[in-house]
């Protein structure tokens, strides 16, 4: 009895095995830039969702008597070239630009990841053919490919999304293929194959979850890039139809006012910059978080 009291009590803290997700989250949250990025993105997403609900002037309400007026009490960000309230347009634009980003990236991901996945998983002849096709599309000048697609489909929101998506899919294909190839050679896959598990199961339960990492990172980085690409398309004359308050379109239409009413360009430009920045920072932090995890294996 006295003996036990004399022995110093050492507390052993036994941690339960931490789930992958929680590990990822904790590493992500430690990255200040990543958190900032996430905050920005959430803010924009929130704006996008709430835009119709917020009591802002209709973004389409024209007032030809008050064009390109600087910020004032009635119009916090001023008015654009048709007298429309810039604040409401920028806010509504959040929804559209995010939509473009998400849908374009989904298209790219869908096409690219499927192709890359097929190539990586099956290997052999399928791999060669698919990668040939990917090479063809990669050799195609990116912006010109988008131009052609939009020219064929006609202007509009959906053509822009499709065009940007198609032009990003080769990159996704490559990333997916490389990722799958890497995972395929890991030991636990070999182990699963040794047990005799069917191919599809291996794919679903072992390969895909582990291969998705780089894809997700790439996707988040591409989200920011899609928003920027879409605005370049507007510059070349192929963007969504008016009066869509898409940031790229707004930046474009206002660029001739750079010297006399710069606010009409600054606010949409800033919006694009911040949104892309947010996605990029978050995506970066995500990649860092994943990388560290891989390293620890």
């Amino acid at each position: 009895m006295n003996d036990t009291q004399a022995i110093p009590q050492v507390r052993l803290t036994v941690r339960a095995p931490v789930s992958f997700r929680r590990l990822l989250a904790s590493r992500f949250l430690r990255n200040r830039a990543g958190v900032a990025g996430l905050v920005i993105v959430s803010l924009f997403a929130l704006l996008g969702v709430l835009a119709p609900v917020l009591r802002l002037d209709l973004p389409d309400a024209q007032d030809l008597e008050h064009v390109t007026e600087p910020p004032s009490r009635e119009h916090w960000l001023g008015t654009d070239n048709l007298g429309r309230d810039l604040l409401s347009r920028v806010v509504h634009g959040a929804r559209i630009s995010l939509m473009i980003g998400v849908l374009a990236t989904s298209v790219g991901l869908g096409i690219g990841a499927t192709a890359g996945g097929l190539a990586g998983f099956h290997g052999g002849k399928i791999d060669e053919t698919v990668m040939r096709v990917v090479e063809i599309f990669m050799a195609f000048p990116g912006l010109l490919l988008a131009l052609l697609v939009v020219s064929i489909l006609g202007p509009g929101l959906y053509s822009v999304m499709l065009a940007v998506g198609i032009s990003t899919s080769p990159a996704f294909a490559r990333v997916m293929r490389a990722s799958i190839l890497q995972v395929k050679s890991e030991e636990f896959v070999e182990a699963a194959q040794a047990i005799g598990a069917p191919g599809l199961t291996i794919l679903r339960r072992h390969i895909l979850p582990n291969a998705m990492g780089p894809i997700i990172v790439h996707g988040s980085l591409l989200l920011g890039a899609s928003i920027v690409t879409a605005s370049s398309l507007s510059f070349l004359g192929l963007g969504p139809k008016p009066p869509t308050p898409e940031w790229g379109v707004m930046l474009n239409e206002a660029r001739n006012y750079l010297y006399i009413a710069p606010h009409t360009t600054i606010f949409p430009g800033l919006a694009i910059l911040l949104a892309a920045l947010g996605f990029n920072m978050a995506g970066d932090a995500l990649r860092d978080a994943l990388d560290v995890r891989l390293k620890m294996d």
Partner: protein
């Protein structure tokens, strides 16, 4: 060697895709030429003159046969031969791209190295903030702002056009910004990775001077992914310069192609895309060769 031969089917694939997609774009080239003048018969006659009334596969076969002989056809709007146009405009784009690559290489890599060496300090954050911004801004916006600041307001550089070396600076910077940002990030990541590797620590422990550590041991493998990105960016620049060329009135290939698409000038579009695809593929090949030379472990099998 196998790789070199492998280029051909890719190029053929590209030309087929272009050929078809360009004919899918709504809008009649004959109308583009005729404008508001011209009757229906005139349009038919123009179409016949351009060979557009023949079946598509025949048009392709004829075109391909001519290309092999070195004849890329003539522009439909002014009968000017395609090849000389591609050459002269291509040279301009090449000049611009080289300038941009120079800036990317010098500024991007240095920035990345500095950031890696001073990682997690103020300089690192500054450099990466700059990089982040660089990949988040639309190119035309950058170009117009640079033009406003340095040409209009400060008057240090010419506004637009080509002619003197000074004319290269603003468009070069504009085109280079994205790549520079990208390369600096990659360099930093890659160098960080390498610098923490064991053989570097060994070298340091052995007492090698810092520059030696940097160049002899880290550079080679550190720069491999950077070189790959480099090559990709160069390829992108050759064709992605459309926006920069428009803003700075730089008579390059990108602008020629974009215009040709709007005018439905098929021979120029077909020839131009072929040239760009060819250069892109060649650049990739060169990149792979350089990478293999730099790090024998990464030879493409």
């Amino acid at each position: 060697m196998r790789r070199v031969i492998g280029i051909v089917p890719v190029l053929i694939g590209v030309t087929i895709v272009v050929f078809l997609s360009v004919r899918l774009v709504p809008g009649d080239p004959a109308v583009a030429i005729a404008g508001i003048a011209g009757t229906e018969e005139d349009l038919a006659r123009i179409r016949h003159r351009l060979g557009l009334d023949r079946p598509v596969y025949l048009q392709y076969a004829i075109w391909l046969a001519n290309v092999v002989r070195g004849d890329l056809g003539r522009s439909v709007v002014n009968d000017y031969p395609v090849l000389p146009q591609l050459v002269s405009r291509g040279q301009m784009t090449l000049k611009l791209s080289l300038m941009a690559m120079l800036i990317t290489a010098v500024v991007g890599v240095s920035l990345g190295i500095v950031a890696a060496y001073r990682s997690h300090t103020f300089w690192d954050y500054l450099a990466m903030a700059f990089a982040m911004t660089g990949i988040s801004m639309p190119v035309f916006w950058i170009g117009l702002l640079l033009m406003y600041a340095f040409a209009v307001r400060l008057g240090w550089l010419p506004v637009a056009g080509a002619g003197t070396p000074a004319h290269l600076v603003l468009p070069g910077l504009t085109l280079a910004l994205y790549s520079t940002a990208l390369v600096s990030r990659m360099t930093r990541a890659s160098m960080l990775d390498v610098l923490s590797k064991e053989y570097v620590r060994t070298a340091r422990a052995k007492g090698c001077s810092e520059p030696r550590v940097l160049i002899v041991h880290s550079f080679r493998s550190g720069l491999v992914p950077v070189i790959t990105v480099f090559g990709l960016q160069f390829g992108y620049m050759l064709a992605g310069a459309v926006v920069t060329e428009t803003v700075f009135a730089w008579p390059g290939l990108g602008r020629l192609l974009a215009d040709a698409i709007f005018l439905r000038d098929f021979p120029i579009i077909q020839g131009g895309v072929l040239v760009i695809a060819l250069s892109f593929v060649l650049v990739n090949l060169a990149t792979d060769v350089i990478v293999a030379a730099a790090d024998p472990r990464l030879r493409y099998e």
